[in-house]
Symmetry: C2
Subunit: 490 residues, 2 copies
């Protein structure tokens, strides 16, 4: 079974480092503590590990050479992109002797084909750079999320990133036509196909997308492009609650079809956190409302009447008391300011104190019930609890986070407590939802995965892991553990 590798003797470690230097160049194998530091901790400082070296290959062939050397030495490999993940998947294990494999130097766009609407990229491309290159060619690459200025597409692929445009364009998985992967034995699977239809056997790329580096190293991808919207209108609307929000989304879709590209829900408390912590933000509406939605509709065609159609839906929704007040952005700058509120919620909430975070999904129609029942149960168990609830409600995906009175960030017991999560995940399970809608498992949710998946599914995952990484060197301790007794806690 795929067992996490054991530590090498010091002499063997030195020999491996020398071989890695020969493979990728001495300057690209970092071993000094100060050089290693940024790669050993996640961006929020939740996870910290250790590593023999950070290795920075410049090509697929160099990645393959690094993996072959590590496989021969039975040394674990932790692929790392922009290091912006939410679950510690890119942070090496503590006390381990892994190699962090940085894809940062593989940051070239290899091809952009407007006749096929595809872009071929190396894994280390920063997401915003891909968006920009597409826009320069008159195309949209729709993946968009808060970290887009620093996250790398290899990480987006490895975690099947979601973001704000899933409603219309799907997750990263749905945006991917082909992949190049260095396998756990160092061979290269060249699957950089630019085809919208290809039914020649098992769709292997699907295994690697969302596998968080545990089955191989994604080194390149062919991604789908779309017509660049020529007209976009953004609205921020007060709604009495989640049920009204879902009803409003239904009306928007009935009137505008697939032109509804984003539809986000947020609680008043989220807005208050942003106003308190993020300079330069302001309340878009004159009076307070318990809930808000933020939506963008756009059109790659001429878009005639788009703004008027959105106004008409909102006006009818006001008459039906689904919407209290609403503002339409009059310019791109105003639209950006509205979106900045939404994008700043995580940062604003982080500044407030210790937060129990949940990235959950349920069937979209169950969102109001989930929010009602979750609020009731949390208030009963934790009097005074404050809930930070926002998210991609059109996808059934909520970021459902809670402050519990008296639980402080500097209290190790509060930090380690899982009772709040257990309450929330129990409700998710009752409603046939997911305990990780878009953030993945990483090291953060290993225990929860085992608790929430059936034994059959856990075993299927282990069989896949065993089939593709029999030595267990690809990002061990992430996503799925080997079978057998659990290691002691701590």
């Amino acid at each position: 079974m795929h067992e996490p590798p054991v530590a090498l003797a010091p002499a063997d470690q030195r020999a491996l480092i020398e071989r890695l230097r020969a493979a990728v160049g001495a300057a690209q194998v970092l071993t000094e503590p100060a050089e290693l530091e940024p790669a050993l901790v996640d961006w929020r400082g939740f996870y910290r590990g250790s590593a023999l070296a950070v290795v920075r290959p410049a090509s697929t062939e160099e990645v393959a050479a690094v993996v072959r050397l590590c496989a021969a030495a039975r040394v674990a490999i932790v692929p790392q992109g922009g290091n912006t993940g939410m679950c510690g998947a890119a942070t090496p294990p503590a006390g381990g002797a892994s190699i962090v494999l940085s894809l940062a130097r593989m940051n070239r766009v290899l091809a952009l084909d407007t006749s096929n609407d595809t872009i071929t990229v190396q894994a280390g491309c920063v997401l915003a750079d891909i968006q920009r290159r597409a826009a320069e060619a008159g195309r949209l690459f729709p993946l968009s999320l808060g970290a887009e200025g620093s996250c790398q597409i290899g990480g987006n692929l490895a975690t099947n990133a979601g973001g704000v445009n899933v409603l219309r364009y799907g997750n990263t998985r749905e945006l991917t036509l082909g992949l190049e992967v260095v396998l756990a034995d160092g061979r290269v699977w060249g699957g950089l196909r630019a085809l919208r239809k290809d039914n020649t056997g098992y769709d292997l790329k699907q295994l690697f997308i969302g596998s968080e580096g545990t089955l191989g190293v994604i080194t390149g991808a062919v991604l789908r492009l779309f017509p660049l919207p020529r007209v976009a209108v953004t609205a921020f609307a007060a709604v009495p609650g989640p049920t009204a929000a879902i009803e409003l989304l239904g009306r928007l879709r009935a009137a505008l079809g697939s032109r509804v590209s984003a539809f986000e829900l947020m609680q008043r408390y989220c807005l208050e956190l942003v106003l308190a912590h993020i300079p330069g933000t302001r309340d878009p509406l004159a009076t307070a409302s318990p809930w808000y939605v933020l939506t963008t509709v756009d059109d790659a065609g001429t878009g005639s009447g788009l703004r008027e159609a959105l106004e008409a839906v909102l006006a009818e929704a006001m008459e039906a008391e689904l919407v209290g007040d609403a503002v339409l952005a009059a310019s791109d700058a105003q639209a950006a300011a509205l979106w900045r509120i939404r994008e700043s919620i995580p940062e604003a909430a982080r500044n407030e104190g210790l937060l129990y975070r949940h990235d959950i999904s349920v069937p979209a129609g169950d969102i109001p019930g989930f929010i009602d029942e979750g609020g009731r149960r949390l208030a009963a168990a934790y009097p005074g609890v404050r809930i930070v609830c926002f998210g991609h409600v059109g996808d059934g995906n909520l970021h459902y986070n809670c402050y519990v009175p008296g639980r402080r960030r500097d209290d190790p017991a509060a930090l380690a407590a899982t009772d709040v999560n257990e309450l929330v995940y129990a409700l998710v399970r009752e409603r046939h939802g997911s305990i990780s809608a878009e953030h993945g498992i990483g090291q953060a949710k290993l225990d929860e995965l085992e608790q929430h998946k059936s034994a059959v599914e856990i075993e299927l995952m282990r069989r896949v892991k065993q089939a593709l990484d029999p030595l267990g060197i690809m990002n061990p301790g992430k996503v799925i553990r080997p079978a057998g007794p659990r290691p002691p806690a701590g």
Copy 2:
């Protein structure tokens, strides 16, 4: 390694049949030759096999019981839905002693949720029934293909069916949120999730979609629904050639964005075949053109101005000499008549004689070059060759078929010849395309798969097969062969 099972001794066969009868009821285990016959041959009569029995379970539990019995006896299982496949995946091996597992009795819609836009179905549901149930609820299930009146969704899932709406809505894979699968050991993986976002570990459903019954038996699925188009306009237009067609598609998308839901290309010869062989069809245009496109644009919103916008694009395309003449359907009946031409091409072409068929894809922009170069090479190699070229050009998918003068259906040598296919597939390979865009591999393209895939990819596929079906009982002889020397021909 996953070896095809060997034949049972007659007494063991009888014992297995008795156990199967006990599991699903005696009336649901067919063994009489006349009862078996329809299940032993594919709908076109290209493939023929043999089987111990056709077993017709009525529930997931009964499927699981059948698989457990077959696994214990090491007897191969051939899942069969509507038996409308193009590559013989649902036809049992010749001379084999398999069980054909018919899903036909599992034909219930289990749930339809308009608040989540999902439908939950058993695998034996006929595609047209799912479409109808969705429409009755004011929703669209967009999968649409010629066989929709008899194909079953389990087969659509097992082959990742494409069809005419892939351009806008994707393949069956993209329409699927959850699956229930009976694994090769008879356990049930309950993955009937109705979630648009779920990043909890490996996305196992992706393995089974498109695996043509070689990894397990799909027994149910949760499928995505979409707003039902309220306005649809269909046009049939003469174009000078494929380059003009691609350019027209670009213009349509620029004006109408995602409202372009289908865009099909066909050669004049296809239309002539339909007019000759399909009663009640007529040429939609007054004068002949070498090529045509058939397109439908639709809108789930109010669709105001949709017809006018399509007319404007066509008028501008006429001025630019991209379109010669065009007709817009004035009614649903006229639209259906135009689509009947397109859907009748396979049947019309079958009536004409022996046809070398290819279901290929290339990057969409390479379609014109592929058609040009293919025509040149075929004409040089086979003077007088007639090409039947049509397909989903917006997806880069062509049905590219050829009659070769003098090759007759009743000539075994002509039937067995692969030279025409080799010529076409060599060109596909040069252009980084697929030798099976939407029809799958089945038993038809086993050799070609091994020739066209890299050794790494073949081995990855074998590892997946071994991981999920270590006994090799799931539809052996389809998609991927075990490693080792090839069996002698014949």
